[in-house]
């Protein structure tokens, strides 16, 4: 199957005169008390209006879609409308060939990460009223596009699998079938954030290093390894084995602490911090330094 690389940097300047360009990450709203009210105000402004979305289109099989383009849709705004709702409406009412992944609509299946107004976001948890119009919706950058907003996730899954992402308790004492391993609430708290990853791929797509080094394990896989490495239920030997995987040439030392992964993570996982902590662990254990 032929594929198309979506490189947002190389896209043509938008023709639409109203287009204000990609929103700068600094303008992103932070979570806080004021957000709810601001949100309601913007929603009130949009009542009765349509929302203008520009959606990336590409299909290797269809003649007029082989050359990537943007399609414009004007979708009637409804209270609480998300980016996902807007593309679903466009698909169901205007063009049934518009293609994207989605399932749970509640930020847990991780299948609808898109590049929205220049930033990786989950379609289902991004309110359309919070965005500048027209809202530009593209597939995740630095991944091969299969069709429209669907990217090939195989490389992402391969990297996740490369860190041995499963509990290995061979070193821990044998437990009775009805006796759990003990874990302190503090230790559970330590791994809690890392355990929230929904494999959406937003972090990997935002990472400049991953874009240039195809072998780099990347923030998601390293975070997955962090979850196990920091879990006291696994023994010391396994922990060392995990650190050896992570300190390899294309592991933690590739991270240049640009924080882009942390910034786009829809589950607020402190990915960059986790990567730095693993670097420190590797130093403490005197493992090879690249």
């Amino acid at each position: 199957m032929s594929t198309q690389q979506a490189e947002p940097e190389s896209q043509e300047a938008p023709e639409d005169p109203e287009m204000k360009g990609a929103e700068s990450p600094a303008a992103e709203e932070q979570k806080g008390g004021g957000m709810v009210e601001e949100h309601a105000e913007k929603e009130a402004e949009l009542e009765g209006e349509t929302v203008h979305i520009k959606v990336f289109r590409y299909d290797p099989e269809v003649a007029d879609k082989q050359e990537p383009r943007f399609d414009d849709f004007h979708v009637p705004f409804t209270k609480g409308m998300t980016v996902l709702d807007s593309v679903m409406y466009a698909r169901d009412e205007y063009d049934s060939s518009l293609t994207f992944r989605h399932s749970c609509r509640q930020a847990v299946c991780g299948s609808d990460a898109f590049f929205v107004n220049g930033k990786q976001r989950l379609g289902c948890k991004t309110q359309i009223s919070d965005l500048e119009q027209p809202v530009r919706i593209e597939p995740l950058p630095h991944q091969e596009v299969v069709k429209d907003l669907v990217v090939d996730m195989d490389h992402f899954y391969d990297q996740m699998h490369a860190v041995e992402p499963y509990f290995q308790d061979e070193d821990t004492p044998e437990t009775d079938a009805l006796e759990e391993q003990r874990q302190s609430p503090e230790n559970r708290e330590k791994i809690k954030m890392s355990s929230r990853c929904i494999w959406c791929g937003a972090c990997m797509s935002s990472c400049n290093i991953a874009a240039g080094d195809n072998e780099y394990l990347g923030p998601a896989a390293i975070n997955k390894a962090y979850k196990f490495a920091m879990d006291d239920r696994e023994g010391e030997e396994i922990k060392e084995h995990r650190l050896r995987i992570l300190e390899q040439e294309h592991g933690v030392w590739r991270c240049q602490t640009q924080f882009s992964c942390t910034e786009v993570c829809p589950k607020d996982i402190p990915l960059t911090e986790h990567i730095q902590e693993l670097k420190r662990e590797a130093v403490k254990k005197n493992l090879k330094f690249w």
């Binding site: 709810v36 099989e61 609509r105 992402p165 509990f167 009805l178 759990e180 003990r182 929230r196 929904i198």
Partner: protein
């Protein structure tokens, strides 16, 4: 053609557990899923896993609560198996590294849930399903089990003997979503359907868009009856705008429901004088809608769920995910204001009829999880009982399919001499007939003379012809139109409150949808990632599932569990301690009944009035 010993369709909680169990029993297993495993809807479960783990609790109490919660429509052998196996299976997840919430001494935490006589719900924050799903997927990766992700299973390859009890399932036919290729998957030992719920039959649901009842519809058309489909659980606390679920854990931790007048209505209006907000889900859902109907709803639509008094520390520790959901999907900060909630379609208690080993009446065909009805939930599922069902019965189905001897089942399946004959209820329309052409149905040229390869090849051919027909057709009706109409009819007429007239109206609309589907076409001409095609096939499945729900709701003229009928405001034990079974017979549904099994291992569960 691909070939394995056991094929598991679907990769949520039940499918993953079945695959691991079959693998451990020595089988060559493959999972075929229309999503990637970590995208499965099990990940959205929030509350927890009921298991009698602590001193002072025991499996018999769990079984008793479950029988009572089911309104005495659960089968005791299944309920007792669930209660007996849940502790070991839950601890097994812990041994696999699942990050459960912990007590100070390092043991797993448990909390109260609706309808439970002991706080036996084991949890991981308010994201238990996410952790369960990922923990089990990790074990699948560890074992190197083959996963065909984004392959949509369209049909079962089943022989076509006249009596479904004589039929055999030899595999499935699936469509590679990425490339459009249609291939056969031969199962030498068994096919396990673990395709989840049918929530997309309704338009206000907590279920994922992928929950389209594919397994239900395929098994049904292959001859396995659907059981107790009228019992649909409406969760009392879903967000009004999207249907996103707010966990029962909020009420478990002490969250309070208020009406627009600030009354704690569960007590003040006498819906549940003992348990209040922690009465079972059917009771709370009806109470909320009654408040709205009597003019005490907020904005005539919903009620308030308040957790502010629990304090930030407790909320952050046990319900943090709920804060994010309320903020992201409703724009409400749960720390400073109450959350709007209303009932939303949440769970199907009914499903493909199976015995406690997961087997249907079709040889080699198994089902587990929400798509199956064993039956443990009867008329109403208790919160925290879905996840143990996945692991307990997923494991049993996987083991049995792989050839492990689990003993003779106590629960019978299929049409036999222990069933009562068809209903005499008059149906408003002749259901079923139209649309047979598009189903694929049971493979022709089957029977004892055909070899498994031949049956599979024939089924693949039928599926390819069907897809070509849908793709070649130039115009007609689009699936989205039919689906929206179907969902609206179900929500309007087969919701929490049901009337005979309403359900009949729904059946008429479903019949219209069935006829319109004859003219359905796929507009997207591409074979690459054609979601238009996939959803068109799913919509056909939803029509069958919706029809079975409405048919069940019409014939059961009593009030039991989640099934409320305006004209019949009493539970009729004399007449209705029996399961409704609907089987696809010569192109249309027929209805029959099988008695509930109330005899357990040590005692018989006597039906009592259910009060909370």
């Amino acid at each position: 053609m691909y070939e394995h010993d056991v094929i598991v369709v679907g990769a949520g909680g039940a499918g993953l557990r079945a695959a691991i169990a079959a693998h451990e029993a020595g089988a060559d297993v493959a999972m075929v899923t229309k999503l990637h495993p970590v995208r499965s809807h099990t990940g959205a479960a929030e509350g927890g896993i009921n298991a009698a783990l602590q001193e002072g609790d025991d499996w018999e109490l769990h079984a008793y609560d479950t029988m009572k919660g089911s309104d005495y429509l659960g089968d005791a052998p299944a309920v007792e198996t669930l209660a007996q196996d849940a502790p070991e299976e839950t601890i097994n997840l812990e041994h696999w590294g699942m990050p459960f919430s912990r007590e100070e001494d390092g043991r797993v935490s448990q909390r109260p849930f609706g309808g439970l006589s002991y706080p036996r719900t084991t949890y991981a924050g308010a994201e238990t399903g996410h952790h369960l799903l990922h923990t089990m997927y990790e074990q699948v990766v560890k074992r190197g089990i083959q996963v065909y992700d984004e392959w949509y299973v369209m049909n079962l390859a089943t022989t076509d003997e006249a009596d479904p009890n004589d039929r055999e399932c030899h595999g499935v036919v699936a469509y590679d979503v990425q490339s459009g290729t249609i291939e056969g998957f031969k199962a030498n030992q068994g096919v396990v359907l673990a395709t989840g719920g049918p929530g997309q039959a309704f338009d206000h649901t907590t279920n994922a868009v992928s929950c389209t009842g594919d397994g239900h519809a395929m098994a049904y058309r292959a001859g396995a009856p659907l059981e107790d489909m009228e019992f649909i659980q409406f969760h009392p606390t879903s967000l009004p705008s999207t249907g996103v679920l707010i966990s029962e854990g909020v009420r478990g931790e002490g969250g309070i429901l208020y009406n627009s007048e600030g009354e704690r209505f569960m007590f003040e209006h006498g819906y549940a004088n003992n348990s209040g907000e922690l009465a079972s889900r059917d009771v709370v859902a009806r109470a909320e809608l009654t408040e709205v109907d009597e003019g005490r709803g907020v904005e005539d639509e919903y009620v308030h769920l308040d957790m502010r008094h629990l304090g930030e520390d407790r909320i952050m520790d046990r319900l943090e995910n709920i804060l994010h959901l309320a903020e992201d999907f409703e724009g409400v900060d749960g720390l400073v204001e109450p959350m709007p909630v209303k009932p939303g379609q949440h769970y199907a208690m009914g499903g493909i009829e199976v015995d406690e080993n997961g087997q249907t009446c079709v040889d080699g065909l198994y089902a587990a999880g929400e798509c199956a009805c064993v039956s443990v939930h009867g008329g109403n599922r208790l919160g925290g009982n879905a996840l143990p069902e996945l692991i307990v019965f997923g494991k049993r189905a996987g083991r049995h399919a792989a050839g492990d001897d689990l003993g003779e089942p106590k629960i019978r399946t299929g049409y036999g001499d222990d069933v009562e004959d068809e209903t005499e209820t008059e149906l408003p329309v002749a259901p079923g007939e139209a649309g047979l052409d598009a189903t694929g149905g049971v493979a022709a040229d089957g029977g004892v003379t055909a070899d498994p390869e031949g049956i599979l090849e024939r089924t693949v051919e039928t599926a390819r012809e069907r897809v070509d027909r849908l793709m070649d057709k130039e115009d007609g009706v689009q699936h989205a139109e039919i689906r929206a109409k179907l969902q609206k009819a179900m929500t309007d007429y087969v919701n929490v409150f049901r009337t005979e007239e309403g359900v009949k109206k729904a059946l008429e609309i479903i019949r219209e949808c069935r006829q319109e589907y004859q003219d359905v076409y796929v507009d997207d001409p591409s074979r690459t990632f054609n979601t238009d095609l996939q959803q068109t096939i799913e919509t056909r499945n939803l029509i069958d599932v919706a029809e079975s729900i409405a048919l069940g709701a019409l014939v059961r003229d009593e009030f039991r569990g989640a099934h409320w009928r305006k004209e019949h405001q009493e539970r009729k034990d004399e007449e209705w301690l029996k399961h409704t079974l609907i089987s696809w017979d010569d192109g249309e549904p027929s209805i029959f009944y099988r008695p509930v099994i109330l005899e357990g291992q040590n005692k018989t569960y006597e039906p009592k009035e259910r009060s909370y």
